[in-house]
């Protein structure tokens, strides 16, 4: 299967230190929504950072390739890579509190990339920003564009960030736990909004989350990560009928259900973790 984003055998490591991603492969086709699931520390966010070229300084890609629309990022010059990523991709970050610059007005933060990188006129960019805020159902867009981030609520900021991500009509958006920092009622609206925007714009979306419930609502396909390894890659419907891998199955079993609110939370059993660790050690060796 080919996709817009094609990650093949991607390995990321701390130089002279542990490997964080072990030959990860996954595809996201145009218009597809793929969930990327795993416990914290499994390397979910690291994949997004590697694709977008914002890996922390202490971390380096040690193998594999990332392709965007058929172009191998590794074959480009650093400048060419930045250009391609800037033209085609965007990020919806996790924490709306640190994702907007507190010292700058919302409007400039949305229009900056349109004006400075894509060469729009300021007037065009501002009209676009207003239309986008309308589209993400922000009331009184003109006022919000003049506001500073601290004048908006968390949910409102996340809407602004979604608008900003879609501003330049990217082909690929990586959403890094976009609803984790929000409370549950706002979370549902934001999820619906992301899904709606994605469908309307036909964007490929890599949705990083630890919440299988969210995956079932938003995604068509999913990749399960454990300890930097891909342990399951499947369609969402098939996954919820019966995961192939024992760790994925245990993770699914550990997801709390609304249908049985009194049931105690089930952890992933120790035995499954031990067996998975052993299997992955064999795979790596």
């Amino acid at each position: 299967m080919s996709g817009y984003l094609e990650i093949e055998g991607l390995s990321v490591a701390i130089p002279n230190g542990p490997r964080l991603l072990h030959e990860v492969s996954l595809n996201v086709a145009e218009g597809e929504v793929r969930g990327l699931v795993g416990e914290s520390g499994a390397g979910k966010s690291m994949i997004g950072k590697a694709v977008l070229g914002i890996l922390p300084r202490a971390v380096a890609q040690t193998g594999g390739s990332v392709r965007l629309g058929g172009q191998d990022l590794g074959a480009l010059t650093p400048q060419g890579r930045r250009h391609l990523i800037g033209q085609t991709s965007a990020l919806i970050p996790q924490d709306p509190l640190t994702a907007l610059n507190p010292a700058r007005r919302i409007g400039r933060q949305i229009t900056d990339r349109l004006v400075d990188i894509l060469g729009w006129t300021r007037r065009e960019a501002e009209a676009r920003a207003r239309a986008l805020l309308d589209e993400v159902r922000v009331p009184d867009p003109a006022r919000v564009l003049r506001s500073y981030p601290h004048e908006l609520s968390g949910g409102m900021r996340q809407r602004v960030l979604i608008a900003a991500a879609f501003a330049a009509e990217p082909k690929l958006i990586i959403a890094d736990e976009p609803t984790t920092a929000l409370d549950v009622t706002v979370q549902r609206e934001i999820l619906r909004l992301i899904r709606e925007m994605q469908a309307r714009h036909g964007t490929a979306l890599l949705f990083v989350t630890h919440d299988l419930g969210v995956v079932s609502k938003v995604c068509q396909t999913l990749t399960v990560l454990y300890g930097g390894h891909v342990v399951e890659d499947s369609e969402v419907r098939r996954f919820f009928q019966g995961p192939q891998h024992r760790y994925a199955a245990a993770l699914l079993a550990a997801t709390p259900r609304y249908t049985d609110p009194d049931a105690s939370l089930t952890p992933v059993p120790e035995g499954v973790i031990a067996a998975t660790e052993a299997e992955l050690a064999g795979r790596a060796g």
């Binding site: 070229g53 914002i54 300084r57 990020l91 994702a99 990339r113 609520s153 968390g154």
Partner: protein, 292 residues
């Protein structure tokens, strides 16, 4: 939590804070503005030539003490020079040093701090070690040593202050830039393909600005003190020009006979340094977008 901003509540909080800030900003800014005006208009305001000696009118007390001469409102020193005129002319030197040394220190220190904090890696390593080494020199001795090499004079004092104190800016600004560089909005700007220089300028600098402003005014106060210290040990500009530090040094000798020669420059120095630091605090709060 509703999804709307809360203008009513915010407006109240802002009004209350404005009010509290007001007095501090007014007093400190007012004193500095007054001083700046007086310094600029010194030739018009000063009743006497600050260097003119009148040995028959030595050690005259200020106007409210018995035996004062109304021609010398703040009295005279042991050589019969007018204290008020000398204070005014000394303010020119103090404020010049504060302004020029403060601005240069700020520019150099903040630029190095921003670069170190944002780029990290070996750039940060070099600048940070340099700061560490620099700060291990005792500052006043360092200044005296520098003046000894450069020779006395206004520009030497300014150079000495800049050379010694840029580390204060560099260290603090580096730490703030380091925090800013990890923020998601910096990552987003980089994903969009913003050149690094523009990321520093547009995303990081506005957030570090309140701190820089506070440090700048603090530094101006420090520059005034350093200039006074150097004048006090006779290492400032030529002994002809009146300076607060020089006046304090001269007044010290005759403190039992003429306390006013020491007291007036001391009070001027104290009020000016205090005003600079208070102005910085006030402006920092005013500049902060979250508190604003």
């Amino acid at each position: 939590m509703g999804e709307t901003a809360q203008p009513a509540l915010r407006a109240d909080g802002r009004a209350a804070r404005r009010h509290g800030l007001g007095l501090r900003l007014w007093l400190s800014g007012g004193w500095i503005a007054l001083l700046a005006l007086a310094a600029l208009a010194a030739p018009l305001l000063a009743p006497h030539d600050p260097l003119a000696q009148d040995l028959f009118a030595g050690r005259l007390p200020p106007f409210w003490v018995a035996g004062a001469d109304p021609l010398y409102p703040l009295g005279t020193d042991s050589l019969g020079r007018d204290v008020l005129s000398r204070l005014l002319y000394a303010a020119r030197i103090a404020l010049t040093v504060a302004l020029v040394a403060g601005a240069l220190t700020c520019l150099i220190g903040a630029a190095l701090g921003l670069v170190a904090g944002f780029y990290g890696g070996w750039v940060d390593l070099v600048i940070s070690r340099l700061i560490d080494i620099w700060m291990s020199f005792p500052p006043v001795l360092f200044a005296i040593l520098l003046i000894a090499v450069l020779g006395t004079g206004l520009s030497s004092i300014i150079i000495a202050i800049v050379v010694i104190d840029w580390t204060r800016f560099a260290r603090v600004v580096r730490a703030e830039a380091l925090t800013q560089a990890r923020m998601d909005y910096v990552a987003s700007a980089q994903i969009a393909g913003m050149p690094r220089r523009r990321v520093i300028w547009a995303e990081i600098l506005p957030n570090v600005l309140p701190t820089i402003v506070a440090l700048l005014t603090l530094e101006m106060g420090i520059a005034v003190i350093v200039e006074a210290i150097l004048s006090f040990v006779n290492l400032s500009i030529s002994t002809d020009d009146p300076t607060w530090g020089g006046m304090i040094a001269e007044g010290r000798i005759s403190i039992h006979q003429a306390w006013w020669v020491l007291a007036f420059p001391l009070v001027a120095l104290f009020l000016t340094v205090l005003a600079f630091s208070q102005l910085g605090e006030g402006l920092k709060d005013r500049f902060d977008p979250v508190l604003r």
